[in-house]
């Protein structure tokens, strides 16, 4: 036990002197890294704008209030597009994610050394690139519009859905699978009656969870031209129509809150 001798009294300490030295060095290194980072940021900042920030924020606030309520008539179609991007994107993603998940789960994959790493690579690479970047790329390839948004959301969601799904597949109860196998079922019958019923609740939960995330993501896809309400946001920002911007932000906030509520309700009903 780490004990220090202070004036003949033994005092308990949390760490030995070597451990505490190590901790201090670690802290020192951490602080040095942070200081360097801060210096870099501060060098790239125009501080005049920062000191001016409260005035500008107040200025934007006065311009943005009250929101231009009559503009809501023009937001119906963009909201519908946003909903479609999220729903169709999630649906496409799930269709693609299911085979990837089965190939990635160590208990269902055909080959642990060849196919599993490929599936895991697909999962990591689709997950690490943001949907806005996918959208940028797809717009360059297939042109701007809702379609590019749907595909961007779909590709981005594969990794997330497949990762959660393959973890659910790896956690299934083997005894049920064995029981089905013992009846002489074929490989596909084992899949349909032994594995699928066990992962179906997880699958439904993942689908709704990702749909909720995709509603959030599809609200901003329009900023790069991929359709949805973000398109209205960026065009209003470009002409500095702050009352419209504030209304759009309110609508987005409302959409996010509603989708979160729906997803919580549905997941509560399934699980």
């Amino acid at each position: 036990m780490p004990v220090q001798d202070a004036h003949g009294l033994k005092v308990w300490q949390r760490r030995t002197s070597r451990e505490s030295l190590f901790h201090w060095v670690l802290w020192l290194v951490g602080i040095a890294i942070f200081a360097y980072c801060w210096q870099q940021i501060s060098a790239a900042t125009t501080w005049f704008f920062v000191w001016d920030a409260p005035r500008i924020a107040g200025d934007i606030w006065t311009r943005a209030t009250p929101p231009r309520w009559e503009y809501i008539a023009q937001l119906g179609r963009p909201i519908w597009d946003t909903l479609n991007i999220a729903t169709l994107g999630t649906l496409l993603a799930l269709i693609m994610a299911v085979p990837v998940a089965f190939l990635a789960a160590s208990n269902t994959t055909p080959s642990r050394y060849l196919i599993r790493p490929i599936a895991l690579l697909i999962i990591v690479s689709t997950r690490s690139i943001n949907s806005l970047i996918w959208a940028l790329l797809l717009i360059a390839i297939i042109g701007p519009g809702v379609f590019a948004g749907v595909i961007a959301i779909a590709i981005r969601s594969i990794g997330f859905c497949a990762k959660l799904l393959y973890e659910a597949i790896e956690e299934i109860d083997d005894t049920q699978v064995e029981a089905i196998t013992a009846t002489g079922a074929s490989r596909w019958q084992v899949m349909a009656y032994g594995i699928v019923p066990q992962i179906l609740p997880a699958f439904a939960g993942i689908a709704v969870f990702r749909w909720d995330i995709n509603i959030r993501e599809s609200t901003v896809l329009g900023l790069v031209g991929a359709g949805g309400i973000g398109l209205q946001l960026s065009s209003s920002l470009n002409v500095l129509a702050w009352p419209q911007v504030s209304l759009i932000l309110l609508v987005i906030l409302l959409a996010v809150v509603i989708s979160e509520w729906v997803s919580a309700k549905v997941r509560g009903a399934i699980i």
Partner: protein, 273 residues
């Protein structure tokens, strides 16, 4: 299953059928019909310009091919500067965000904080979670001007909502007995937190912090699209100029860094737990 009583003789010789996921027949069919109707309606409103898509396939092929020959050199200084800026923003915002979210997490845990503090902290968390990173970035760029400072503030703000919420849940589900033992020894509030609460939530805090570092890096890659600094600006220009080999190089670097972070977080989490 609902039909617990059935005639065995009538069932003999009939193949077994899998029970449906939704038991009520009318509900099943209404949901299915509604969903199909929605799919048709949404499919009708999406205009796909197939000739444009067909033209684009060539560019798509070029992009995929670009991954086999990524160009790290011709824009190397832009890539390097953007990457350093992204990493700098990630590190600084994670540190500041985590430092701010610890007191907020303590305030948002009902077993540590009194009701008024709890409500305020939960409010902060709700606001931070509801606003999306890119929207916050747009507003902060408008207020603070272009550059990494806006990105740094955006990511710090987003970190607060994420980390405080999960940490507060962990504090709420901690083992009360250990904390009580510390309290019984006559500890002050700060000592109680330091010796009773902190050791219990520390592994979770470290795990969440590394996870958030990972998320912040990924987000920092897109903040450049709205002028908030980082690699996103370089990536955007590469796409605009159809320089797919440079874009492929940037995407590969992002994927490698994310994979490295994921591996590192796995190692560290295994060590602390």
């Amino acid at each position: 299953m609902s039909d617990t009583t059935f005639d065995v003789n009538a069932r003999i010789g009939q193949p077994w059928k899998k029970p449906h996921f939704i038991q009520r027949r009318w509900l099943r069919w209404t949901l299915l019909a509604g969903f199909i109707a929605y799919l048709i309606a949404s499919y009708m409103t999406i205009e796909v310009n197939w000739s444009r898509v067909y033209e684009g396939l060539e560019r798509g092929k070029n992009f995929v091919l670009a991954f086999t020959s990524p160009d790290f050199t011709s824009r190397s200084s832009d890539i390097y500067e953007g990457m350093v800026e992204s990493i700098v923003m990630t590190v600084a915002s994670s540190v500041v965000g985590i430092a701010i979210s610890i007191p907020i997490a303590l305030g948002a845990a009902r077993n540590v904080a009194p009701l008024p503090v709890y409500l305020i902290c939960r409010g902060i968390i709700a606001v931070s979670r509801a606003l999306q990173e890119i929207i916050v970035a747009i507003l902060l760029v408008a207020i603070f001007g272009f550059g990494p400072l806006a990105g740094f503030l955006t990511l710090s703000f987003a970190t607060i909502g994420f980390l405080s919420k999960l940490l507060a849940e962990d504090i709420e589900s901690m083992d009360k007995v250990q904390a009580e033992a510390i309290k019984a020894s006559g500890a002050r509030w700060a000592q109680w937190i330091n010796y009773g609460v902190q050791p219990q939530v520390m592994p979770r805090l470290i795990g969440l912090s590394i996870y958030r570092l990972d998320i912040n890096f990924r987000e920092s890659a897109i903040l450049g699209l709205v002028g908030a600094g980082g690699i996103g600006a370089t990536l955007n220009t590469a796409f605009d100029r159809y320089e797919y080999d440079t874009a492929a190089a940037i995407l590969l670097i992002i994927i490698v860094i994310v994979m490295a972070l994921e591996y590192m977080s796995g190692v560290i989490r295994a060590r602390v737990q």
